[in-house]
């Protein structure tokens, strides 16, 4: 039997263990609380608070000093002092009145109370009376008497209340009149010092040293652990967006961005120089600001920047560094590590514009998103959409020329060398290189490559259709040709540049590279072909975007003579490896055995002659590499493109991208960057049969181009989460977008300035002015715009839609002094209408019909107009052509023919134009006759009583008669 005081374990030891473990429990509990309580963002908010206090204090001091230095304010203070003294002196004698007021107000209040009571009693009495009446009760009379009595009482009380009130007001007024001046002065003072007052009040709420002790204590207490659930001063701040969602796969949930928890000064312009994370957004006018198009309450942060909006520490917000250095810095400073299991890390700064594309995807250019615009322009220029399905580009023409009538244009040798290495012929060509890439540079692949190209060339020439060519003028003058090329406007779309220039990739450069660089043509084609091509490009290639410049036979011959003179000797000298039937057999067997047995393939092969073998191999290879995606090739009219669809490439999960054996950050942008730099890089280290190797060709993009293209690719995303924020599909937007597409396709901005962009041709115009019309650089600079194709700003406001339609279809001469020619693009009806609608939509003009003002003139008015028009006054004919009459002086001072005015110009526009030409077309030569700053005195006083509006009207109406 064990006794109660017997123990199996030693009590003292157990007590010791117990105390130690309890202590451990306490410690770990404390640790638990601390680790939950100490958050990075709280530190940031405290830091920001002190920054805010410091800034407010400074501002407060400045406001205070400003007031001190303000004489007006000082005199006001003096005046107040004076007034106060005055008040004390004059108004201290109202003691008895004040006492009376007090007594009166007590009486008044009592009366008011009594009145209230009586009123409620009246309501009750009324109810009793009414119900008694309705039920015809016995006590009806008593009820009626009671009601009438109470009613009288209420009336009496009301009268009393009104009398006491009146009396009280009278007495009060006597007293207050005395202090009115002081009060007015004080009000004035408060207004002047309002800024200081606001700052002072703000300081009292944020600065502990300016707070009363109780508030200071309360501020500390409410941030204590556990208690801080109620209303802490440090708390997570967030923007909840109903319109923009996060895709959690099974549903769309409203986006919640907590970025502002740490980025506290992001919308406050005062923190432009503050350290991160408190710094102001660099562009508040465009983003986040209340008046910007993207206010923070509606758009938040991560919809553009990506990242994890709910994250509240540096790594869990999925920040992502934009360079290796930044990565190292972050790792050291913020213990940064990539956010695992998060598909959308924050966009590194260089790709940040891709966020715009989500909502602005339908716009061809997006204002201020320069890198993204460049990327999209590159996608169009490089023709990514030819091989990769990109839904917005469905229906775009192929990027390359037709290869259906090749024989009339090229030789087989040239084609071989070109396919093998296009850059060896034209250093900046947009034809990408398929061969001799990083995964096909071993000797075996090289041997195969040689024969592959032979087969492709053989197929192309074997299927070539005839192209009939007429005899051309026997000889052309290369010098004249050179001048024509320099002046006609060829250089808007083409360059003639024999060696590479270190030029930064810009959209203007892309516009000048719209057509090929015209070098070495003597090694490529024949004079007769070139002449035919120049005369009418659509005869050779129906869908060519090269326009017709309405050249005469002689002009075409001159130009081709000039272009053909340039030869590329190095290219011509390159040897061509011999055809090797054995390799061709191997290649073809490889293709054939995909579908049939080896024995069948061998039997088939044995029955073929070399010609057929080459044809079959070439066909299979063209199919393999997808040449037909960019070029029209016979036999491939209905083939599907070879690349992956890119419409939502930016949303593709990273694990679907094959990184091969390359070690990179596992992000889609890192992968895209590598892929664009070297499309075959992910084959490195892999052992693959030739037809399974990566085959995307190499465009040799520069660094800026890669950045821009990655930005565009990252923008091609699934947009369900922002479907409420996309550019609305209004009729006007649709018209604009359709027009912009044509503007892009036909490179209008190479010559014209449209929507504030373009005019890439102008440097070449200047060069022409210096070379051919003997002007100095300064002179040429001054007149370049007059000799360049016109700026099309406000074109929709300016010209009649019908005229525009006809002009675009068949251009006519408006500015005879221009050497550049508006080409004939051969637009169809629907394209012409699209363009006309586009110009009208750009200027918010009504389309298609608009009211015409009455432009008839009385004989007197005609006389006045003629006087204004004459040499004595405005002397319009000094510059403007009138019918057949040319103005004197040099052509660079000439201006358009008035005879065109009626058909071409909208009458309202002429009025606006005469009033202020510089506003409609900045930099125009047209003088401002009616000074907009002193409009009333600008016109001649002796015509139409000096009424400027009338003068402009008759002048306009007169101009419109000049075509008759």
């Amino acid at each position: 039997m064990t006794l109660p005081d017997e123990r199996h374990y030693k009590s003292s030891a157990l007590n010791l263990i117990f105390s130690v473990s309890s202590l451990l429990l306490l410690l770990s509990l404390g640790w638990l609380f601390l680790s939950d309580y100490l958050r990075q963002w709280k530190q940031h908010q405290t830091e920001f608070r002190s920054l805010e206090i410091e800034k407010t204090k400074l501002e407060y001091e400045a406001a205070r000093k400003g007031l001190e230095g303000d004489e007006e304010y000082q005199t006001l203070l003096q005046k107040i002092g004076q007034a106060r003294k005055d008040y004390e002196a004059r108004c201290s004698g109202f003691e008895s009145e004040k006492k009376e007021v007090e007594q009166l107000s007590v009486r008044h209040n009592l009366a008011e109370q009594e009145h209230k009571f009586a009123k409620s009693e009246l309501d009750a009495a009324r109810f009793r009376y009414e119900s008694a009446k309705a039920e015809n009760a016995r006590n009806l009379e008593a009820a009626e008497a009671e009601f009438l009595q109470v009613e009288r009482q209420v009336l009496d009380l009301k009268t009393e209340l009104e009398t006491t009130g009146e009396e009280l007001n009278k007495k009060k007024e006597i007293i207050s009149q005395c202090g009115e001046m002081l009060r007015n002065l004080e009000r004035e003072e408060r207004q002047m010092a309002s800024r200081r007052e606001i700052l002072e009040r703000k300081l009292k709420t944020i600065d502990p040293s300016a707070m009363p002790i109780a508030s200071r204590l309360a501020d500390k207490v409410r941030d204590l652990p556990v208690i801080d659930f109620a209303n802490p001063s440090l708390k997570i701040k967030q923007v909840v967006l109903r319109d923009i969602t996060d895709n959690v796969n099974f549903m769309q949930v409203p986006k919640v961005d907590r970025c502002v928890t740490c980025h506290l000064g992001i919308t406050d312009p005062d923190y432009r120089d503050a350290p991160q994370p408190y710094r102001t957004h660099p562009n508040l006018e465009l983003y986040l600001g209340k008046k910007s198009p993207h206010p923070i309450e509606e758009f938040g942060c991560t919809v553009c920047h990506a990242g994890r909006g709910r994250g509240t520490n540096f790594s869990s917000a999925a920040h992502f560094p934009s360079s290796e250095e930044q990565k190292k810095e972050w790792e050291k400073k913020h213990q940064w590590s990539p956010m695992e299991r998060w598909e959308e890390p924050m966009l590194p700064l260089q790709y940040v514009e891709s966020g715009c594309f989500k909502c602005h995807s339908t716009q061809v250019t997006i204002r201020e998103a320069n890198r993204l615009n460049l990327g999209i322009h590159l996608v169009e220029k490089a023709g990514c959409f030819n091989c990769h399905l990109l839904k917005p580009y469905e229906g775009w023409p192929k990027s390359g020329p037709t290869l259906k009538k090749l024989e009339s244009k090229l030789t087989k040798d040239w084609a071989y060398k070109w396919i093998e290495n296009p850059r060896s012929f034209r250093h900046n060509t947009w034809m990408p290189s398929f061969f001799n890439q990083s995964n096909t540079s071993d000797p075996d692949s090289k041997k195969r490559t040689e024969q592959e190209i032979h087969a492709i060339v053989h197929y192309l020439f074997g299927t070539s259709e005839p192209f009939e060519m007429d005899p051309i003028p026997a000889s052309g003058d290369p010098e004249k040709g050179k001048e024509l090329v320099a002046s006609l406007g060829c250089l808007g779309c083409h360059q003639i540049q024999s060696s590479p220039l270190e030029e930064k990739a810009t959209r203007d450069l892309l516009r000048r590279q719209h057509g090929p660089n015209l070098i070495g043509l003597g090694s490529k084609t024949t004079k007769i072909w070139l002449t035919h091509w120049l005369k009418d490009p659509s005869r050779y290639h129906k869908d060519s975007r090269m326009p017709n410049l309405r050249l005469t036979d002689q002009e075409a011959a001159d130009i081709s003579e000039y272009l053909i003179a340039d030869k590329n000797e190095a290219f011509e000298k390159r040897p061509i490896p011999a055809l090797d039937e054995k390799v061709i057999d191997d290649i073809l067997t490889g293709f054939l055995t995909k579908m049939e047995t080896r024995a069948q393939a061998e039997r088939k092969l044995a029955a073929m002659d070399l010609n057929e073998k080459l044809n079959r191999t070439g066909e299979r290879l063209i199919n393999h590499y997808g040449c037909y995606a960019c070029h029209d090739i016979k036999g491939f009219e209905h083939a599907n493109p070879v690349g992956t669809e890119l419409t939502e490439e930016g949303s593709k999960p990273v694990h679907r991208l094959d990184f091969g054996l390359i070690h990179l950050d596992h992000t889609n942008f890192a992968w895209f960057e590598q892929k664009l730099r070297d499309p075959r890089i992910f084959d490195r280290g892999k052992v693959r049969p030739p037809d399974e190797k990566l085959k995307m060709p190499n465009f040799y993009f520069t660094d800026e181009e890669v950045d821009a293209l990655v930005t565009a690719l990252m923008g091609f995303v699934d947009t369900t989460s922002v479907k409420n924020k996309k550019i609305p599909r209004t009729a006007r937007n649709l018209q604009l977008e359709a027009g912009q597409k044509i503007v892009h396709l036909f490179n209008c901005q190479a010559c014209h300035i449209l929507e504030g962009e373009g005019g890439a041709i102008q440097p070449t115009i200047k060069e022409w002015l210096m070379t051919y019309s003997g002007r100095s650089e300064a002179e040429a600079d001054a007149v370049t715009t007059s000799f360049s194709p016109p700026n099309l700003i406000g074109e929709g406001k300016k010209v009649h839609s019908k005229w525009l339609f006809e002009f675009l279809e068949e251009p006519s001469v408006i500015r005879p002094w221009l050497k550049v020619r508006m080409p004939t693009f051969g637009f169809g009806e629907s394209e012409l209408n699209t363009l006309v609608k586009y110009f009208n939509a750009l200027d918010d003009e009504e389309f298609p019909f608009a009211k015409e003002p009455d432009t008839t003139l009385t004989p007197e008015e005609v006389l006045s107009a003629q006087r204004l028009f004459s040499k004595e006054y405005l002397d319009c004919a000094q510059c403007h052509i009138v019918g057949d009459q040319l103005p004197g002086g040099s052509p660079d001072r000439w201006a358009p023919n008035f005879a065109l005015a009626k058909k071409r110009l909208k009458p309202e526009w002429i009025v606006e134009w005469l009033k202020n030409p510089q506003e409609l077309l900045p930099g125009t030569k047209m003088p401002t006759y009616f000074d907009p700053d002193a409009f009333e005195d600008s016109g001649p006083p002796d015509i139409l009583d000096g009424d400027e509006n009338e003068q402009i009207r008759v002048l306009r109406d007169y101009l419109l008669t000049l075509s008759e």
Binding site: T2, L14, S28, L32, S35, N249, R341, H655
Partner: protein, 371 residues
């Protein structure tokens, strides 16, 4: 070091490690005299002493300490999901050692004609308060401390939002089901996921009714129930704990096998082509095409199963399990052997897969019936 790592990688392949552990288990827990003799000669029983325990734990600690210097090993062992399994390895081994040590001590006492240590305990009485409740309370506090510190130091292993079009690679069951998931490699889902788990539960329930050994109850002992301990240890340690460990640490992307010092490469490919027994029987042995008739086609498999479950138990009753049959009687004996054969079926199937690339013994995909 690299050589050692590649050696470890090579021997941890299930084809090597499993047979080794199978033999080793029977040596450590010898069911018969033969194994007992080998155990004696190799002095394996020394493991169940204080020195042996020290050796075992030093060895395990040294291995883990060494392993943690390797980034691949570290990545997989310190993953928050896997940390409990590291604990499991140590805990299972500790309690194994602890109970076996007591069992051997008791065995020695019984041999000397003394009573086992537990008998002394049961004569002594202990008060619920303070002796029991106090230590329970202390354990409670210490467990709370452990859980709190653990939750602070290791973040919850949360994953990305579930996406029906992206499945995680590898897709792993919860740790306690990894043994079953490992069986899926060798068996059709309805066997690995339905029949075997049911059989395990029924088997565990049947133990009290099958075990009529009156000795060794209420105290640790090995010698008095060698066969029972041996069979249970093989089932528990090898077919359950070991498979969980393999599933946690050694199965990577695409459920491929990876050694402890191997990088989990998503692109790793293993040549996996398996054949059914019927194909081996008809095409390899008989040089004949597969019969059209399903029953005829699967006849070899059915024959094997019939032999295994129908012929083997009576045969064993007459030979190897004669004593067992005598003591259990026909009914209990047949239940016992069927359960045992089912359990043994798993390693047998594993060997068949590794050695002959056997996919199924009976394969009737037409009716989703594969064994």
């Amino acid at each position: 070091m690299e050589l050692f790592k590649s050696f470890v990688n090579a021997v941890t392949r299930p084809q090597v490690l499993f047979p080794f552990l199978l033999v080793f288990t029977f040596l450590m827990f010898p069911p018969t005299e033969f194994f007992y003799k080998v155990n004696k000669t190799l002095r394996l029983h020394k493991l169940w002493t204080a020195a042996g325990g020290l050796f075992m734990f030093s060895f395990m600690l040294a291995f883990f300490a060494f392993g943690l210097t390797d980034s691949d090993f570290r990545a997989i062992v310190t993953k928050p999901d896997n940390v409990p399994i590291v604990g499991l390895i140590f805990l299972v081994n500790f309690f194994l050692w602890f109970s076996m040590k007591q069992a051997y001590e008791n065995d020695a006492k019984i041999e000397q004609g003394k009573e086992p240590a537990e008998f002394a305990d049961s004569k002594e009485k202990v008060l619920v308060w303070p002796d029991l409740v106090y230590i329970e309370f202390i354990s409670l506090i210490l467990c709370s401390v452990l859980l709190m510190v653990w939750s602070i130091l290791l973040k919850a292993p949360l994953e990305e939002p579930a996406n029906p079009s992206i499945s995680p690679n590898p897709s792993k069951a919860p740790w306690y089901f990894l043994g079953l998931q490992e069986m899926l490699v060798y068996f059709d889902p309805w066997l690995a996921g339905v029949v075997f788990p049911t059989a395990i539960i029924l088997g565990l329930m049947a133990i009290p009714y099958l075990d009529n050994n009156k000795k060794g109850r209420g105290y640790f002992s090995f010698k008095e129930r060698k066969m029972a301990v041996s069979i249970f240890m093989a089932g528990w340690l090898l077919l359950w704990v070991f498979l969980i460990t393999v599933g946690t640490f050694l199965r990577g992307p695409n459920w491929n096998f990876f050694g402890p010092f191997e990088y989990w490469d998503v692109h790793k490919l293993e040549a996996l082509t398996n054949v059914n027994l019927s194909e081996i029987f008809y095409m390899v042995w008989l040089r004949h095409s597969l019969p059209q008739n399903i029953l005829l086609r699967e006849m070899p498999g059915f024959t094997v199963l019939l032999l295994y479950f129908g012929f083997l138990p009576p045969l064993l009753a007459r030979t190897l399990f004669k004593r067992l049959y005598d003591s259990l009687g026909g009914f209990r004996y047949s239940i016992f052997t069927v359960l045992l054969l089912l359990a043994v079926g798993l390693p047998i199937k594993m060997f068949l897969r590794w050695v002959f690339n056997i996919k199924y013994i009976v394969a009737i995909p037409e009716f989703f019936f594969n064994i």
